[in-house]
Every structure is written in structure tokens, then in C-alpha cells.
Symmetry: C2
Subunit: 478 residues, 2 copies
């Protein structure tokens, strides 16, 4: 296992090198200093210099040529424009969004299909053996073998660990502020039910995760889709105007690494959003499910960290970071805790005991923090590798998002390409993708596409991306 200090050192060197590639100091094809030269230049051990190069190689930024040395392989095109979000929705056409979702996600477990339609980690990235061990220990150390009805609010030890996790994003929460739920979706559902009534309107991002449309519909709520920038998130002017006119009763945003955009609201925007909504006493449901999967140096802050009125209902889960199948989510519902607990009690009484106890155990002794460090690195590398393949194989006028975290890339294809038609063609090649129209109720994003990079980059994945690029070229009209 890598020690933390060693980890810091080679990462620091790698980051310095990466910045030089990004800034064009070194260009594609340039030969880099030898390992020995690098070690002397930077005043680090040979082993640290080697590790720094290996890290850059795994990201696809440099390559080792036999008997020659390291060369710059790729320079991220930071100047390439990101995908655009139309200001006005287009009229819907053909199949409904619900029908499309049902089509795309009908056969998730079909063997032999390359899954690029999910926003979730590949199983190789998850600490299965360690978590199994925690489950066994949890069952053995529980006086009832976890057969008891757990505390309605959630396992106390788990809530303490979740409160501790909140310190990373500037949260000053205690175990008593946390309510454990069955995944993030249940947290969103309880929070929305606690702050709205059927018929109310909820402000959401456009584009946004399609599960949120289903949730709103099921609760009898309407959506106000807020134009959302692929880099900095929701349009605050639009929101200021709509909130002043009382056009919505609550907001539900994914401020860090929106799915599908990957956008990250700057801290100043998060702060402005919270105070703007507080002025109108409008509750904000903050979906932070991707918040821990950041590629930068520090954990993004949350809207909740700026909340002084108890009006931000923070939601997250372990489904993207640790154990999708365990269905452990949670919320910190601020002043709406009693309502959320009442929702939970009448919906399901309480959450499962064994899965909560196992994850609580996993989170102690820094195990979860260590796992997250490994996961973030792997995801950042995968993101870059997928991105490079898209740059290489897709038409030049394809726009690709540059997410700073999360699990997905958002693509704008040439205007003539219908991504749902692309979906059907790709399926014939055993590739599954998520067409853009899934991410808006208004028929937007006909030529957009979401690609998940949760699975490690393999020759099979590269082949699938190459095939996809070829299909896009075929569908694009000259």
C-alpha cells in the first residue's frame, strides 16, 4: 500500500509535468527528461520520478517508447468548445421520454453488451472483499445479528461517520442531522415530499438526470427547467427572475458534477443561490451524489455549507462511491427533519440493519477515505482516456464536456445526428449509450449523448468508442 507522504510527492511531480503539457511548454511528440534527469531536476528519488511518469502514462498523456524514453502523447484541447444548452425547449417528437428510458434501460444485465449508458462505477473499482469482511463482522458483533428494526433515523454509528464526512465539504453537522435512506432517490423523494404539495412546481437543471422527471411526475409535481451551463451550472439570472415571480416552490439541483453535464457551480454561485432562495424562503434540495468524485485537489463545497436558515436539504448516497447494491443513501434535511422522518416512517418504517452496519464499519479507521482516494484517481484517468478516444475517433465538430468529477461525458454531435437513431445502430454492435433526449422533458438534446466512463478503459472499450465514432460519421449529413 502507498503511504500518504509518498503519494503526495509523486503526485506533486506529476501535476507539475501535466501543467507544462497543458500550457504547451511541451507539445505532442516532445521527448521528456529521463527518469534519472527528472529525479535530479526535481530533487526526488528515482522511484518517485518513475511513479510520476507512470501516473501520467496511465492517464494517456505520455507514452513510454522502448529503449528511447517518455514522449508527450496527447495535449488536452482545453480550448475546444463545450456542448451548448438551448435556451428554449424544442417540441417533443415521436416516442415519449418515458418510452425511450424504458427502451434504453430494459436489459441492463444483458451479457456481451458494452455498457456506456450508466453513470456508475465498474465493479473492479469497488472494495468488494473488504466490504464483505465488514458485513461478516457486523453480523457477528450485533447482539441480534442485525435482525432488529434499526433506529428510524438510521444506524447511529453510520450517521456519525456520515456527519464526519460532511466536514470535508465545510458542513458542521452531527449524527442527529442525518436521516439514512434507501439510496439517494429515496432521500430526494422524502425531501421533495417534505417541502412541496402535489401540483407545485420544482426548479431543476436542464439537462438533468431523467430519474428526477419520473420522481416529480410520481409525486404530482411540475418541472421548471433552468438553462444550465456545462461548466458553471444553472443560470442564476433566470433563477432570480423566476424566484422573484414565485414561479417555483422548491429547487432540486446537482451543484457538483451535474449528471449529464459534469458542471460544477463555483463557490460564489453556490453561495449566491442559497441566499437568493433563502430571501424567498424557497427550500433547495441539493443532490450531492457525485460530490466525492472530484478530480481536482479539493472536495467541492456544497450549497448546504452556506445554509444558515436550514432551508437546504442535502442528499447523497454510497451508490456511486462504494456499493450500488447496498442501497444506502442519506439526507440532512435541515429544518424539515421531522417531516422527512414522518415520510420515512409511513413509507417503509426504517432502513435495513445489515447493510447500514456493514458500511458504518467500512467507514471507520479511514478505510473509506483511502478507498475514495484510489477511486478518484482511477476515475480521472478513465475520464481522460475515454475523452482522448472520443477526440481521436469522433468527427472534429463533436463537442465534449470537460467534467471535473463524476462518471459521465456529455457530447454534442453534429446537428444532423439523431442520437436515438445512433442508440439503435450502436445496439446492433452490442454497445449501449444514453441518448440526449432522455435528459429533458422538452425534447431538447436531440443530437446530444451521455457516455459513462465508470468502467476501466480497455481495448474493448476503445474499440466500442471507435465504432461509435464511425456510426456518428455515417449518420452525419455533409
Amino acid at each position: 500500500m502507498t503511504s500518504v507522504s509518498d503519494d503526495f510527492l509523486y503526485n506533486q511531480v506529476a501535476e507539475r509535468l501535466e501543467a507544462m503539457v497543458e500550457n504547451g511548454v511541451w507539445k505532442t511528440g516532445d521527448k521528456l527528461p529521463s527518469v534519472r534527469a527528472l529525479s535530479e531536476e526535481q530533487g526526488v528519488s528515482l522511484s518517485t520520478a518513475f511513479k510520476a511518469y507512470a501516473a501520467l502514462e496511465s492517464k494517456g498523456l505520455i507514452e513510454a517508447r522502448p529503449k528511447s524514453g517518455y514522449y508527450v502523447r496527447f495535449r488536452p484541447r482545453h480550448a475546444a468548445p463545450p456542448p451548448r444548452t438551448p435556451r428554449l425547449p424544442a417540441p417533443p417528437e415521436g416516442m415519449s421520454v418515458d418510452e425511450m428510458i424504458a427502451t434504453v434501460y430494459a436489459n441492463l444485465s444483458e451479457a456481451g453488451v458494452v455498457q456506456l449508458s450508466l453513470a456508475a462505477p465498474g465493479y473492479e473499482l469497488l472494495p468488494a472483499a473488504k466490504l464483505n469482511k465488514c458485513m461478516v463482522e457486523a453480523l457477528r458483533s450485533s447482539p441480534t445479528s442485525c435482525l432488529h428494526y434499526e433506529n428510524i433515523q438510521g444506524n447511529t454509528e453510520l450517521r456519525q461517520q456520515l456527519a464526519r464526512l460532511a466536514f470535508n465539504w465545510g458542513g458542521a453537522c452531527t449524527a442527529d442531522d442525518v436521516v439514512v435512506t434507501q439510496g439517494c432517490m429515496e432521500a430526494l423523494s422524502f425531501c421533495l415530499r417534505s417541502v412541496t404539495r402535489p401540483g407545485d412546481t420544482v426548479a431543476i437543471e436542464r439537462p438533468t438526470y431523467f430519474g428526477i422527471f419520473g420522481l416529480l411526475k410520481n409525486l404530482g409535481l411540475r418541472a421548471l427547467e433552468v438553462p444550465t451551463d456545462p461548466i458553471i451550472g444553472p443560470d442564476l439570472d433566470f433563477l432570480r427572475n423566476a424566484s422573484a415571480k414565485k414561479q417555483f416552490a422548491a429547487a432540486l439541483f446537482v451543484p457538483s458534477f451535474n449528471n449529464p453535464l459534469g458542471s460544477l457551480m463555483p463557490d460564489t454561485h453556490k453561495q449566491a443561490l442559497v441566499s437568493m432562495l433563502a430571501e424567498q424562503e424557497i427550500p433547495l434540495v441539493e443532490d450531492d451524489i457525485y460530490g466525492e468524485m472530484y478530480f481536482g485537489k479539493t472536495r467541492p463545497r456544497t450549497c448546504k455549507s452556506y445554509d444558515t436558515e436550514g432551508l437546504v436539504l442535502y442528499c447523497s448516497s454510497m451508490s456511486k462511491s462504494l456499493a450500488p447494491g447496498y442501497r444506502i443513501g442519506w439526507c440532512m434535511p435541515g429544518r424539515f427533519r421531522a417531516q422527512v422522518l414522518q415520510c420515512k416512517l409511513t413509507q417503509c418504517i426504517t432502513s435495513a440493519s445489515p447493510t447500514q452496519a456493514a458500511i458504518a464499519r467500512f467507514c471507520t479507521n479511514g478505510r473509506f477515505d483511502l478507498h475514495l482516494r484510489h477511486l478518484r484517481k482511477a476515475l480521472h484517468t478513465q475520464c481522460l482516456r475515454y475523452w482522448q478516444a472520443i477526440e481521436a475517433y469522433f468527427p472534429a465538430d463533436t463537442r465534449v464536456s470537460q467534467p471535473q468529477g463524476g462518471y459521465v461525458l456529455w457530447l454534442e454531435l453534429p446537428e444532423s445526428v439523431d442520437s436515438f437513431a445512433l442508440y439503435h445502430r450502436a445496439r446492433q454492435h452490442q454497445i449501449s449509450i444514453a441518448p440526449g433526449r432522455l435528459f429533458s422533458t422538452g425534447g431538447c438534446f436531440r443530437n446530444h449523448l451521455r457516455l459513462g466512463f465508470g468502467n476501466p478503459f480497455t481495448p474493448e472499450i476503445e474499440g466500442s468508442l471507435k465504432t461509435l465514432g464511425k456510426l456518428v460519421r455515417e449518420l452525419a449529413k455533409p
Copy 2:
């Protein structure tokens, strides 16, 4: 382990003896034949005769006197009247039902309190070690260590086992008819949401489990409380009249061992109810959570078994029979399967993988059936022992239900006794009970009381019941 044929034989003998005690052939204090004489009379082995007496002794019906033999100890007072259900609700007084529920169930896990307020099994009755083993095997044999998002409808193997279980109550279901949920409450919630809209009225039993009021309220539904007989269940004439007048959009009943009554609708009534509601196209949500906990010879049939139109939405769970803390319930929603699945998808996406896989494994190889046989016997014995203690220690004009299954006794105390006042006095003696007013929205059942017999009968329990009886006498006005 007892073989099935042996099990049958000593049970047959015990039942014959029990019938003679019940019919007054033998009276309290009568000496019974010696083990040898019984063995000769009945043509069974000495060991079988001994087991038959031991079974009756464990139920408290007979006692062994040293160096003398077996004597009749107790004759069930089958002629004693059961508690009555008022036709009209009384006006509510003082504290709201919600406040009362919160008061009674605030400190469930408080140490040192004798819990008589629950309708759930004591942990001694549950196969913790075997279930732990199943969990370990499930995690080890899963290619993903159960980290994957499970099939939305539920683990296939588990659904097959649940369909197989349905054969016991005359169900002709396949795995495809089953949707797994987070306990029975979530099943009820999905089913109600699938067949009603906010503002609709739902027919329920009076009295009924208080969790159902919370569920209805949370979904914006109204309750029509149907007077319910403590022996045969809901008043069908009342229902026929109300359904003809379209006074309700759906019904939610607990036809087998209603909580708190313990009532069991006769098969003819179940059949009549299903066809009466089908005529008006009114869906019936059938809560069968206690159906497997029968004391008689055969599993009661369900309303679902008479359903030809797909209008019965059957709901149950493993919380009362196997593992409360695992939160595994299920429904068979008939023609509303698509709606229930949509509810589930938008509420929580899917249910937890490890708990489903562990229980699926436990249900194979007849393990669950064997466990249920043991559990039923233990519960029947506990029911009789609690009942006998109530007969012995409570005032003579106390009415007690005679449940044929389930976990609870329903008591009607002398009219002057307020059972919520009794609750407060009992708490001072470290005893927790469920006052009758929790079981109706209309302020009914002021002098009623629910006592759970899920915990094995011990001297401590007997002492608590004796104390309760004393407190009732103190509260009763002459």
C-alpha cells in the same frame, strides 16, 4: 431434529387430549392417564405419549406434579365474550393519535423495559446463525459480491421462492408476478399509489394498525373505517352498501389475523369480498403480513387466491416471520404491476442486493418451511400462556380476543379504564403497552389495549402481566 411423521403422531394425540379438555370431558384439576396408560389407549409409543403431554404442558394446559402424574391445569374459556367494536366512532379527546403514537414508540430500544407494545417476534425465535451463514454464502457466490444494482422487480431466485410460498395459500403465481419491496409498508405504499389519487377514500378495518393511518395521510388519502368483528373480520353488509354508493376508491384489509384484532375472515367471506369489489371494479390491497403465523392446521387462504380479475394487490413481508431488520417485503399487484414498478423505480430505483440474496438462499431446501413450523408452535404456546396470565390477573369483566394466529391479544378493559392512562402508569413499572386509541382515527377504543406476545413467556413477563392487572383494577371505578 424431529421427523415429520413423528411430529404428526404426537401432535395428533395432543390435539385429541386438548379437545377433551376444551369440551369439558376433563376439568381443571382432573388427573390424566399415566404416560404408559396413554400409550396403550392410543396405540402409540411411550415416547410419543410423553411428547404429547410435554406439548400440552408447554402450552400451560396441563401440569406435571412430582411423583403423581399429569393434571389438567387450565380450561380455555371459549365461552367468554370477545372485545366489542363500537359501530360509531366517539369524538376524539385530548392528545391526537399521532402524538400518542410518537409517545408510545419514542424509546423502543430503552433497556430494562418489558416490551408488550410490539407485534413482532422475539429474537430468540429467529434463526440468526443460519441466516448469517446464508448472507456469507450469498456474498461469496455473487460475481459482484452483491454490489450490483439488483433487477428492479427483485432478485429472481427470491421471487421464485416467494411464488412457491404462494402455493400454500392457493396462489397460482410466477416469479414474474412478484415485486420485491423494502418491507410490507413499502409494498402497501406502492400498491395504494398505483390504484388511488390524492383525495380518494380508502376502506380500512376499524380497528386497524396505526401505521396505515400515517400511510394514508402521507399519500393524501382519506379513510373509511369499516366496523370489524373480532372473529370474522369486516362487516360485509356495511361494505356492500358503501361500495354500491361508490364511497371508496380502494380497500386495504388485513383479512388473516388483523392487527390488533387477530380476526380471521372465513373463506366464504374472503370470496364474497373479492367478488363484491370486482363488480364495482374496486381494487383490494390485501395485507397478508401475518398469514403464515397461523395456529390452526392449515394456512388460511388469501383474498388473492379468489382473484380472477387481477384486482387484488397482495402484500406481505419477511419482517414478522424471519428478519425484521432485513426490510424484505413483496407484493403481487395483479394488473397494476407496471404502475407498482414505476412507483418503485422513481422512489428508490431498486431494493438492496445482499439482503435479498441472503433470504433467497435461506428459503431454498425447505429451510424457511421448517423454521415456520417451529415459529408457529412457539407463538401458539406463547399466545396461550399470555392469555392464561390475563385470565388469572385481570378483572373478571375484561374481554380478551382469541386470535387464531399473529402476534397480539386485543383486550377490552372495564369501561371506566382509560388505557392511555394505564399506559403511563405501566411505564412507571417499566412496562410498555399499546393503548386502544392508537388503532382508530375516530377516538374509539378508549378502554381497549393491544398486548404483543412475540416474546417467550418468562417469569418476568408473567410478573409484568400481574402488575398490569393490578393497575387495571386500580383504574377501574367500582
